[in-house]
Symmetry: C2
């Protein structure tokens, strides 16, 4: 059997490796559009910051490691057309026949209709080529200032990265707070952290045009006075790369992403799809959404690879769990926020508590801002967000909520969990439980309660 995979990033390589695990005989070919198979897109900010000295270390695996699993990589070979009737993928050079196909064509950076976005010095950041272009500019022209359009997680990470390199940095965000994927209270934590490290943050502001400036570029915004910058980075999200499959008749859905079943099957015969080009099943909403994340791409790729060679693994579904580091701050979230929960028919309430990550008497305690969202009607946990010091185990604390959400736990039952405690790392009621207890009391699902101090 011939398995062809189009796309050599997280989903594509995961599919290939998983197919190999469950089928030692299948012939696996991966078409990689560029020269960089299995590179960590999430690692690009740390390469550009200088923290990762050698870009090669951004590869999850080397070509040799992938080849050692009997996976044939064809580099610099974009798939141009898909003929599902004849079961071939057309490249610039040849036609590649398949029995089973996995489409993992990823996403491309959104390019908003800003006049001047095509000017030299204006960059996006998604691929290794994008990263090399920015790196070349940094090394050759030694810019002293950068303007970042978009304060989502990549925008914040790149502000951190550029500051580490000593640039003057301005971030412009259209929404009212940075990190619009989080509640404003968490966004403001991130904004303070950016500002504490010298980043100029402008919210509620649209970028109108980019023109040539005194030294580099001049960016006009809805806020008035143009901002001068020698480098402009536009990071305002991504859109799914669907042309190959869609042109062959694949159905699309949420945000234009390829429509897939929970087994990652498309409507095309013998064609599965996974990663940032497809819809994501949302475990809580019980419907497809578009939430392109590396973790999800790995899970989808793994399932698609298994299913393409005969398996029937369903994805359990996303909760939209994410975490990012902004300087010394960690920000993490999982599940639904108020507006999404309301749209889905829940009766959400979000409560916030400020809780030390460990017993205050032990040195080095950091205050965590913990927000818990629950359904007033049923008491069910709907989501959580945490912001706090990067050494406050924020990332893995959100995982406790994510694991509870996975099982549909109630907010009250968070207190039943037997979580670990020692004074240097936690309190007898972990902050995730103490915050749940604040919610429970406030939601009237319990009598007024006494806050557990740390």
């Amino acid at each position: 059997m011939r398995l062809v995979i189009v796309g050599g990033s997280d989903a594509g390589i995961s599919a290939g490796l998983r197919a190999r695990e469950v089928d030692q005989d299948v012939r696996i070919t991966v078409l990689v559009a560029d020269d960089y198979p299995n590179f960590s897109i999430c690692g690009l900010p740390y390469f550009l910051s200088g923290e990762v000295a050698d870009w090669r270390s951004l590869a999850h695996r080397t070509r040799q490691e992938i080849a050692a699993h009997g996976i044939h990589l064809r580099l610099n070979t974009p798939a141009r057309r898909l003929d599902v009737a004849r079961r071939v993928v057309v490249t610039d050079h040849d036609e590649l026949a398949y029995d089973r196909l996995v489409v993992a064509t990823g996403a491309e950076p959104s390019r908003p209709p800003i006049a001047g976005i095509e000017l030299r010095g204006v960059h996006v950041l998604r691929s290794m080529a994008d990263a090399f272009a920015v790196q070349t500019l940094l090394l050759e022209r030694e810019p002293r200032s950068a303007l970042i359009v978009g304060a989502g997680y990549i925008g914040c990470e790149m502000a951190d990265a550029f500051r580490l390199r000593g640039l003057k940095v301005t971030v412009v965000e259209q929404a009212g707070t940075v990190l619009p994927g989080f509640d404003a209270e968490i966004g403001r934590l991130a904004q303070s952290e950016l500002e504490r490290h010298g980043v100029h943050v402008v919210v509620d502001t649209a970028v109108r045009t980019i023109g040539r400036g005194r030294r580099g570029l001049s960016v006009e915004t809805s806020a008035g006075t143009p901002v001068q910058a020698e480098l402009v980075l536009v990071v305002v999200g991504v859109r799914p790369n669907t042309a190959l499959a869609a042109d062959a008749g694949a159905a699309t859905g949420e945000r234009g992403a390829l429509r897939v079943s929970r087994e990652l099957g498309t409507n095309l015969p013998n064609v599965w799809a996974a990663g940032d080009c497809v819809e994501t099943w949302h475990r809580q909403l019980e419907r497809p959404t578009y939430l392109p994340l590396g973790t999800t791409a790995h899970k989808q790729g793994r399932a698609a690879g298994e299913n393409a060679v005969g398996g029937h693994r369903q994805v359990a579904g996303t909760l939209g769990t994410q975490v990012l580091k902004v300087f010394e701050l960690a920000v993490a979230g999982t599940g639904l926020r108020d507006h999404g929960a309301r749209e889905a028919g829940f009766d959400p309430l979000t409560m916030q508590a400020l809780i030390p990550d460990h017993k205050r008497y032990y040195p080095g305690a950091h205050a965590l801002t913990v927000r818990v969202t629950g359904d007033r009607r049923t008491g069910r946990l709907l989501g959580a967000q945490i912001g706090g010091h990067r050494q406050g185990e924020v990332a893995k604390r959100i995982d406790t909520y994510a694991t509870a959400l996975h099982h549909g736990l109630s907010v009250d039952a968070m207190s039943d969990l037997d979580l670990s405690y020692t004074p240097p790392f936690a309190a007898p009621w972990d902050p995730v439980q103490a915050a749940a207890q604040v919610w429970t009391a406030s939601a009237g699902r319990d009598r007024p309660r006494i806050m557990e101090p740390a």
Copy 2:
């Protein structure tokens, strides 16, 4: 209604606070045997290390904070006798009438039958009085050497504490490895960390007698040459403090602890009991055990307080989740280990993996030793242990396993969890998932698989 609580530590105070939450009118009196209500026993090593400068900060709450909730504290008032027929608790001064009683008399340190254990300079560590006695010795006699009998978690924490104060430290453990509550592989990590910090560790060795030595004490062990030390600390576990209730007819069970229902009721009318003096319901074994931990004491106290004033809250049960810090190492575990699982009728397999806490390309990655125990027959997750750098989010990673265990998740389904990822904090498959995948492959519950690199 008059609620009397005997015991002013974690369980007793939790019971009082919870009773107050659900009943604004109940009259609550807590009998505290000493002068230190609601002190953090787990904090004693950090007081003795000097990291906590003021012992007062070890109190979870001040007397005033407790009193502000309408809880009457009677300090230095041990309960001497319980008369359940007359519903009174007898103290040295008076009789205290109750309608409902919560017994939270805690545990006392085990004193093994070692000749010389009563000598000056030999200490145990459980209460504030114990801590003050050790502190006084440290300040007044300025010992230069300490020998610790027992390398459980307090023994390890105290080795850390004494080294911080500059003492020469020897730890003697009867079992084959330090931290006998963990697998030997994890115990050896702790031993290396102790040794790396200059602690002399002697395992497989029993302490026979303690006598007067050249300078201080001379400790004879089964290993031969006596060890000289100016301070000996005996920390070999605790036993439940049950005399008060048992003398009044309370049934006892596991390790002599008070037998309680899952609602924390005893066999005595109107008497509940909680904390280190009672049995603990084990969620996986579905039977009572004796596992005295602060987290459990809080949960039990909370339920006992609620139930004593009319509630019917059942404890969800312990998983034995714990974590400790030994110098720069964090060690954590939850659930069953092989021998316990086998005794319970499971067919356990434990697999170990060495996995970086976050993507290797991002600076500061630490290798985590992750051990996953699962049931070969059903694929069910049974337990997990992690050892690694204290900044590797070890504590809260064990919580993900604990939350999964709470729900009876399979090892394979760990990979379904939507956990958080960013290169500075994790990998697209979190170490807890990567280790689960190693188990799954090894248990033959899956075809051979390819390890996800970080």
